[in-house]
């Protein structure tokens, strides 16, 4: 058997192989046209590359935005919940419920007339002050005015109580004492 002829038809032809080629050649592929008219064009993977890259960019931007919002919203409530105020804010806003005011409002029994406000309310209050874009001196004046108004209102309230008790016939000493306190 001629190996060369079997491999690449080179060299001297092998009669047996030639005979087989001749006989089996009857079964050889007969070219037929391929009809592709009804076929849909195959998709090109490169056609989707720009769309995929745009979608990926948008997705990354969305994730980054969501993470940023999450971090931002987490830190603010944590500060409020713990009642932590920045030193700057504490400096700017005087505490209207300080000891002096409470002493002034203390009744004859020695109990404060009102409970001190919780810290959370102070923060809310400070926020409204911040939002009004007032200067430090204006803010100070406003707070003092508010304090005076509150004292005036309390005095008025005490006087009304006194008048009410007088109308009901209570003892004058009692009234005097109450007046002293007021």
């Amino acid at each position: 058997m001629n190996e060369g002829y079997l491999w690449d038809k080179s060299g001297e032809p092998d009669p047996e192989i030639q005979e087989l080629e001749q006989i089996l050649g009857a079964l050889r592929y007969q070219p037929k046209p391929l009809d592709l008219t009804d076929e849909v064009q195959p998709r090109s993977r490169h056609r989707y590359l720009p769309l995929i890259s745009i979608a990926a960019t948008l997705l990354i931007a969305l994730i980054a935005g969501a993470l940023w919002l999450r971090v931002r919203t987490r830190t603010v409530p944590q500060l409020n919940h713990a009642g932590i105020e920045s030193p700057k804010r504490q400096q700017e806003i005087p505490n209207i419920d300080d000891k002096k005011t409470n002493d002034f409002l203390t009744t004859a029994t020695g109990k404060p007339s009102r409970e001190p406000r919780p810290k959370v309310k102070e923060i809310k209050h400070s926020r409204t002050l911040e939002a009004s874009n007032m200067t430090a001196s204006e803010r100070q004046q406003a707070l003092e005015a508010k304090e005076q108004l509150m004292i005036a209102l309390r005095l008025t309230s005490e006087k009304l109580n006194l008048a009410h008790r007088k109308a009901q016939g209570s003892s004058p000493n009692q009234i005097r004492n109450q007046h002293k306190v007021g």
Partner: protein, 194 residues
Amino acid sequence: MFELEATADMLLPTPQAKASTDTPETRIEVVLVKAVLDGDRDSFGRLYELYAPMVHGILLARIPRSEVDDLVQDIFLHAFRKLHTLRDWAAFGPWIAMIARNRAMDFYRRTKETVEVTEDLRSTDMQTSRANEILELIRALPEAYRETLILRLVEGMTGPEIAARTGLTPASVRVNLHRGMKQLRKKLGYAEGL
């Protein structure tokens, strides 16, 4: 000396096959596949012309001859639809060869081997009748040998061409041809003696 039995593994492309397929023809494949994916249908016609004989030979080694022509068309239409899934454009040949082998297996699954191969022998032409007889002998050979022998003797491809188009190494093709031819000679002698 002992001879190794031919197995289906011998039909699998090996890493070395990549180097063997790096021929001008494979570069043409890359250009043609790219052109088809860019919308040029005529380029697929060129791929069809190049590879239809190989697909025909692969099918002829496995299924009845009367079914082969229709299945060749069917395989190429399937390949056209799925061409975008082909990652390595230079591997169009091994890819379509694998589709052809799978389709041949599917054919027998569907028909549950009810198709009589002997129907091919009903031929009035003497030469075709003799050809069908030899074809039956080749089909009785191990899978690796029969496919390579049919591509060589029926489709008229050379060993290097078979290696380049199927993705097999030239060494494997050479061994398959040599051992297959040896076994066929024995069988032909036995057939001639009847």
